[in-house]
Homo-oligomer: 195 residues x 2
DNA sequence: AAACATACTTGAGACAGCCTCAACTTATCC
DNA sequence: GGATAAGTTGAGGCTGTCTCAAGTATGTTT
């Protein structure tokens, strides 16, 4: 267990830490309300800081988003681990998918970044994404072993689906996202198991 | 049958028509290669025209994309009508979904615009989207009447799915888009009909 | 507690993209 | 071939990203 605040690498000067954290909270608010492509200048302004300061802490928009997501990503991986204990393998997987979709829906436009981070080795989020992927892999594996899903379903399919559904939700309504997710999970299910 | 080139409202001067068409072809190339958010200034430059000319023909990026898509959208609706004659209602629907997904994948970022156009009455594409939606509605209706899909699947679900899958393809690979589409179509299928 | 070293902040400025509009040019019609 | 409406131009205002030389605050050292 740590402080709850994503920590920069080493010791920081007190003023720097203040600014760093102020920037994170303002960014979180702004991204939540306006999407992940909100103006960085405006975020700096709201944090009461010059834009150069923002860029010195977060060289790219990606870096800022990454700092915001780090903890959440690991939490998501943990949730996956817990759901391995669910009575039904399929339900555990479905439940995880819903949680993951909500997670992606935190900021409009986040899904694209997560999908990118999987491929991009240089992304700080790469490792976190892999942890999430590994965790979902276990859920998929378990459901497959139990014969509850089609044998050709992969963790990548699940993750892509979750993000695609979240995207659909951004474009229309959360309810639509939910419908797509539900139908596709139904499609994952092994034919012999269907209701 | 018309000329094949999307036509502006009324008679145009010869030079204007030349520029209009040049802009369309350059935009089509640029969007196809770099996505639908490619620089409009650069498109004007490539068309050998001042940016003001581009804006006089196409007041917004949307207008430009709409001009590019008009014909294609109606072609998609026609394809839907033809597929109503497919031997299997489900296969007709599935086949249409694949065609529609390929269509959305024409330009990276196009799916978002199409989803927006459905809701937005002021969009020129609104009508075209409705035609597509109506066409897919018939396919869905037919499959439902034949008992080949779940009764709660709607045309909106189908369209959202198609666009979401295309989005997933943009983020990773076309193969991934295809997998998502396939699984979800499987999820649409009525339980009793499954293989 | 003063001075030092340096970590951090600042904001102007280079650059790119979007979009507008007053001045200019040109096709078309008579 | 002149009048006139239609079309074009490109500088300029705006917003946003990102950089860097100069300035400032902090923690440390004596």
């Amino acid at each position: 267990m740590d402080t709850g605040t994503p920590a920069p690498r080493r010791r920081m000067r007190a003023d720097a830490r203040r600014n760093y954290e102020r920037l994170l909270t303002e960014a979180a608010d702004a991204f939540a309300e306006h999407g992940a492509d909100f103006s960085l200048e405006e975020i700096a302004r709201r944090a009461g800081v010059a834009n150069g300061t923002l860029y010195s802490h977060f060289p790219t928009r990606r870096a800022l988003l990454e700092a915001l997501m780090r903890d959440r990503m690991h939490a998501l991986a943990s949730t996956g681990a817990e759901l391995l204990a669910a009575p039904s393998a399929f339900d555990g997987l479905a439940s995880w998918a819903r949680t993951a979709m909500t997670h992606t829906a935190t900021y409009r436009g986040l899904g694209a970044m997560l999908m990118e981070a999987i491929e991009d080795e240089t992304s700080e989020l790469h490792e976190a994404c892999n942890a999430v992927l590994a965790s979902s892999e276990e859920l998929v594996e378990r459901a497959r072993a139990a014969g509850e899903i089609r044998p050709d379903v992969t963790a990548s399919d699940l993750y892509a689906l979750v993000n695609a559904a979240a995207w659909a939700g951004e474009q229309s309504t959360p309810a639509q996202a939910d419908r797509i997710l539900t139908f596709t999970l139904e499609g994952f299910r092994a034919p012999s198991e269907r209701d």
